[in-house]
């Protein structure tokens, strides 16, 4: 197996992990539990939360599951899953 490729893949995965942790800790401030008992619905915050969730999901799929090196059908089907799911979530949220 190509070890140098793996090493760089691992470095990319480590960056992905760092990004994921930073986003997660960042989401902490957005949560309704921090609103002092008066959380109000907020489409912008929800949009941001969902966007961050898409980024996190895609990082996990691409870098942890190594889909970025996978054949096209797999890359496209995982992306389609993300797109359909989050579009549905947001549309239902807005209705």
């Amino acid at each position: 197996m190509d070890t140098t490729g793996s090493a760089s893949g691992q470095r990319a995965a480590t960056w992905a992990w760092l990004t994921l942790v930073v986003i997660t800790i960042g989401s902490w401030w957005l949560s309704p539990a921090h609103s002092g008992g008066t959380a109000l619905p907020s489409a912008p915050i929800t949009a941001v939360v969902l966007l961050l969730a898409i980024i996190k999901s895609r990082l996990i799929i691409r870098y942890f599951m190594e889909v970025r090196d996978a054949p096209r059908w797999l890359r496209h089907s995982t992306d389609a899953w993300l797109a359909v799911l989050f579009a549905a979530i947001f549309v239902i949220y807005l209705i």
């Binding site: 990319a12 480590t14 008992g37 980024i55 190594e66």
Partner: protein, 192 residues
């Protein structure tokens, strides 16, 4: 995003793990998408009630659990790299690290459930009925994931086997557990 792979880093396209595992993972992703969408439908029908219930979720535990699971996934990524490079002993240690993350996650989740039930948030509230079912099903996936990691360790221990596809397949399952949790975290803990 700064993490796009440079073209020369791209190895030959290959399906990580085996196709059987991808049937499992993609199918499970679709099933969970079903849960999420049904959750959203009920949430939009009872938006205020759900938001009020959400405020009682302990986001600290949610964040810590997410970080635990992400870190355990990162261990497993490194385990796959080590296994590919033939460093089986290191790979086994890393898989154990990943498994430890899973155990910690389950323990914290159990604590969170008990705390919520003690605080009177039983499943008579619609939000919490979803919360218990979805996180419960996710917990079963964590448990299955721990069994999968166990088979990966067994594979790596046996010098005659150590097939890359088995290690990769196990890793992909474990990352799916992580992936689903990240979305649960966003929908149950953070969005409003």
């Amino acid at each position: 995003m700064t993490l796009t792979a440079r073209p020369e880093q791209r190895r030959d396209e290959h399906v990580p793990g085996d196709n059987d595992m991808w049937v499992m993972v993609l199918g499970d992703m679709i099933i969970f998408a079903g849960y999420f969408i049904v959750f959203m439908i009920y949430r939009s029908m009872h938006a205020r009630e759900f938001l009020a219930a959400q405020e009682h979720l302990d986001v600290n535990i949610g964040v810590v659990n997410t970080v635990i699971l992400l870190t355990s996934s990162w261990f497993v990524v490194r385990a796959v790299t080590a296994a590919r490079a033939g460093r089986s002993a290191q790979a086994i240690r890393l898989v154990y690290g990943g498994g430890l993350g899973g155990v910690l996650f389950m323990a914290l989740k159990g604590y969170e459930w008990v705390a919520k039930i003690r605080a009177g948030h039983g499943n008579s509230e619609m939000f919490y009925s979803f919360y218990y079912v979805v996180t419960g099903v996710h917990l079963i996936h964590v448990l299955i994931g721990l069994i999968v990691l166990g088979t990966v360790v067994r594979e790596l221990r046996n010098p005659g086997r150590r097939r890359a596809t088995v290690v990769e397949s196990g890793a992909i399952y474990w990352h799916m557990v992580d992936l689903l949790w990240v979305i649960i975290f966003a929908l149950f803990y953070v969005m409003r």
